[in-house]
């Protein structure tokens, strides 16, 4: 690759990486928050993201009849996000209530298997009740193809701004919630020591439900955004995305909220650069190689707390 080509591809690669990273970060946050509190690897989280994508699509087809919008596009996008976030949140809370809570004191592996079961159910239920084929937004339907902004020579499509902007807003909201509100502080207390927090009068069940809801809402938003950027969604999309989100969470330091954001961003950028400059076929393997390297250097992730061994 010549130097010119390298620089020519650089801005686009960067933008793609940021977009991808934003979505990974949104998924990673839910993984990380739930793990921080329950030490549970919520393998159904990727499918919650998928549910969010489908709910968003449902709103889309309700307001888009014959390629024409019934109400302003901006409003549709907001509605899509709200419905997806609330819906994904409710599904996730139901999952917690019925599939995880009864297993809170069971052997570690039991909730894991239960989570896998939930993942099977969500995926195949979607396949049966909606469609086994991918659903398409149709390129340019929601946000016109030409709707892009020029930064110097680079043209960036509006949808990319949407993804990055929405992600930033959600992250600020989350940070505010966790640091400034009573419930947010309770959440941090529970993630430090569940039993102690319980004894100090924190309603642990409530905190856990809220955690699941917020994590799922973020993932749901991620699902909608992915649909808008890549024009198409599928009932199996949760699996790979879930793995990536999980990887991002671990890279950043699982249990750490800023870590999840950082991990997502890093992973997105790394994948984007790798697939442009090195090899697109090994793109998916990259995530895990990266993960392995980071874990071997920093066993608790980039921003994670080191594990203290107390005897």
């Amino acid at each position: 690759m010549t130097i010119e080509l390298f620089f020519q591809l650089l801005p686009q690669t960067l933008v793609n990486g940021l977009t991808l990273g934003a979505v990974y970060a949104l998924i990673a946050l839910g993984y990380s928050m739930v793990y921080g509190i329950l030490k549970l690897l919520n393998f159904a989280h990727g499918d919650i993201y998928m549910i969010g994508a489908y709910l968003g699509y449902g709103v889309f087809i309700m307001f888009f009849v014959d390629d024409t919008a019934l109400i302003p596009t901006g409003l549709i996008i907001v509605l899509m996000l709200v419905v997806a976030m609330v819906g994904a949140g409710i599904v996730s809370v139901a999952v917690e209530r019925f599939a995880y809570r009864p297993l809170r004191y069971a052997p570690r592996i039991a909730p894991l298997i239960s989570a896998l079961g939930v993942s099977f159910i969500l995926q195949n239920l979607t396949q049966i009740t909606v469609s086994p084929r991918p659903l398409s937004y149709g390129s340019g339907t929601l946000i016109a193809t030409g709707n892009s902004f020029a930064i110097g020579d680079l043209k960036v499509h509006a949808s990319r701004f949407l993804v990055i902007g929405v992600t930033l807003i959600l992250m600020f909201a989350l940070t505010y919630f966790v640091t400034q509100t009573r419930l947010g502080r309770a959440m941090r207390a529970v993630s430090m020591d569940l039993d102690a927090a319980q004894m100090m009068g924190v309603d642990v069940n409530q905190v856990i439900l809220v955690t699941f809801f917020i994590g799922a809402a973020l993932a749901g938003a991620g699902g909608v955004l992915v649909g808008i950027v890549f024009f198409s969604i599928k009932h199996t999309m949760g699996f790979q995305a879930g793995l990536k989100g999980f990887t991002a969470a671990v890279i950043g330091g699982i249990g750490s909220i800023p870590g999840a954001a950082l991990g997502g961003l890093l992973l997105g950028l790394a994948e984007s650069f790798f697939s442009v400059y090195v090899s697109i076929t090994f793109k998916d393997a990259l995530a895990f190689v990266l993960l392995l390297i980071i874990l071997l250097i920093r066993p608790s992730g980039l921003l994670g707390q080191p594990i203290v061994k107390k005897v």
Binding site: Y35, K39, L41, A94, R97, F98, A99, P102, L103, Y105, A106, P107, R108, I109, A110, P111, L112, I113, S114, L116, G117, V118, S119, F120, I121, Q123, N124, L125, Q127, I128, T129, V130, P132, D195, F239, L243, F246, T247, V250, I254, T281, F282, D284, A285, A287, F288, V289, L291, L292, L295, L296, P299, I307, K309, V311
Partner: protein, 517 residues
């Protein structure tokens, strides 16, 4: 015994009079008491346990040995009606393969307590190695002009050793990471493997001018040779059935022997309390690596022979996470740490989905399990009768009223597999566009069920919601689920997992674990 003052346990006859609740002995017998109580199932278990152990094993073994003969009879084929004898035998081989794999996974997860999510890759590596080593015609363009054709008797033990070595290496990299990190790193390893298998079709190898196709991508490598041992070639499904059965027995005995020795004790100690085990003189790291290597070796054995049996290696879905999840389900369902449990788990997860292939049988199973589940959840039986009766009558009322308002709302005719389906469909109100309605009702059914579980305290509401759930589930089954067998099968597997874990987190044959913090 020698010093009477040292003996705080009073003689037996004294003990009878005192309340035993809370004493050491009482606590230790909780399991037995729980089992003794549980009604019909308890009695069945008791009956089963009344048979001497050796008889039990011999009986089951004889049945398994005779199975290929039994399954060939017309009576059997008619009874189950899921395919011809070849198909049934293939399912049998599948079961045996998975039983071996599950035992290997059990060593890693159940004995040593390591969450290895890259396990399936060991099976895959063995498959590819078999393809490279033991096939005459398989060639890797540019790299190997024609297959190496190493005799199976040499290649298979070699593959097992190589893969066990790889397992050891992977283990030593990842074991430094605690608990769940091990899971994610091994998962990553599995992913890297399958990605390579799918994409390593144009790899530049030093010394070759053209890129080399190592795996043939998603299509995999075909035309693998059969296994030949001492001049005897395994060709038919039946021959492989017995080969796998023999391997299962060998693996079972080997693992069982290891488990009942100092190594097995060390594994259990590590799983219980790694630090205490280490301080009591167990080399915990070495024990974990040993478990990793043995697990990998067993997976390799199954993987190599399976590749020979199938005659090909195709990466997806055979070596994918989906298969891994299935394996985990088998091990956990059977009970981690229980060898027989792994076999039972493998049986349930390989045979049950095949039985569901037959729509009529699946229907019977669906309604049967549903009714038994309801009966168990709604004891005393009067409540059960109330809910079932209420739902039946409610449904009939709908059947009377709805068509009277608009006949178009009740003239849908989904496919009916059996008399049972016809009866149920006669009872339900099924509109013309039942596909679309069925989708919505499926969602509603789950909603009703969850709402019912959530509002269990409010008796009347609970019964009403349950009735609604029953009606919508029946509707959903008749209009949607039974029509989409492939997705429904996985759906049922998923639901089984969740329900079983919630009801019995330790698995069917596992022991309740006590953790005191």
């Amino acid at each position: 015994m020698t010093d009477p003052t040292n003996n705080p346990i009073p003689p037996d006859d004294d003990e009878e009079k005192k309340s035993k609740i809370g004493t050491d002995e009482w606590v230790s017998q909780v399991d037995d008491r729980v089992r003794g109580r549980s009604g019909v199932l308890g009695r069945l278990v008791a009956l089963w346990e009344a048979i001497p152990e050796s008889w039990r094993y011999t009986g089951v073994l004889l049945l398994v040995i005779a199975f290929p003969v039994i399954s060939g009879t017309d009576a059997f084929l008619e009874l189950f009606d899921i395919g011809d004898n070849a198909f049934i035998l293939r399912t049998g081989v599948r079961f045996l393969t998975f039983a071996i794999l599950a035992i290997g996974l059990n060593v890693v997860v159940g004995y040593a307590g390591l969450l290895d999510l890259g396990y399936i890759a060991f099976m895959g590596i063995a498959g590819y190695l078999y393809a490279y080593m033991s096939s005459e015609f398989v060639q890797i363009e540019g790299l190997i002009p024609y297959g190496l054709a190493i005799p199976s008797i040499v290649s298979i033990p070699l593959i097992v050793l190589i893969v066990a070595g790889i397992g050891y290496l992977i283990g030593s990299v990842s074991i430094r990471l605690a608990g769940d990190y091990l899971a994610i790193v091994t998962l990553g390893f599995g992913q890297v493997f399958i990605q390579l298998a799918l994409t390593a079709t144009r790899v530049s190898v030093p010394g070759f001018d053209r890129p080399v196709d190592l795996t043939r991508g998603p299509n995999g490598i075909n035309n693998l040779d059969d296994i030949t041992l001492f001049g005897y070639t395994f060709e038919s499904t039946m021959q492989y059935y017995y080969l796998f059965l023999l391997l299962l027995i060998i693996v079972f005995v080997v693992v069982n022997n290891i488990n009942r020795s100092r190594i097995g004790r060390a594994w259990r100690a590590v799983r219980e309390d790694e630090l205490a085990a280490e301080v009591m003189g167990t080399p915990t790291r070495r024990m974990k690596l040993l478990a990793f290597a043995i697990g990998a070796g067993i997976a390799a054995l199954a993987g190599a022979v399976d590749a020979a049996f199938q005659g090909n290696v195709v990466p997806n879905p055979r070596y994918s996470v989906l298969t891994l999840i299935n394996l985990y389900a088998m091990v956990v369902l059977g009970g981690t740490g229980s060898l027989i449990g792994s076999i039972v788990g493998a049986f349930i997860f390989t045979i049950l989905p095949e039985l569901l292939r037959n729509i009529a049988a699946a229907g019977v199973l669906f309604y049967g399990v549903g009714i038994i589940g309801l009966y168990a959840a709604l004891r005393p039986w009067r409540r059960f009768a109330l809910v079932m009766g209420g739902t039946l009558v409610g449904g009939l009322l709908l059947k009377l009223i709805v068509p009277a308002i608009n006949p178009a709302w009740d003239n849908g005719f989904p496919e009916a597999g059996s008399v049972l389906n016809q009866i149920v469909q006669g009872w339900l109100v099924i509109p013309e566009n039942f596909q679309l309605v069925g989708n919505i009702v499926t969602g509603l059914a789950i909603f009703f069920l969850l709402a019912a579980m959530f509002l269990r305290q409010r008796q009347h509401l609970f019964h009403v919601l349950l009735g609604l759930a029953i009606y919508s589930f029946a509707f959903s089954w008749e209009t949607r689920l039974a029509v989409e067998p492939s997705a429904t099968r996985i759906l049922v597997v998923g639901a089984t997992l969740v329900v079983l874990m919630v009801a019995r987190p330790q698995g069917l044959l596992g022991k309740t674990e006590v953790k005191i913090i």
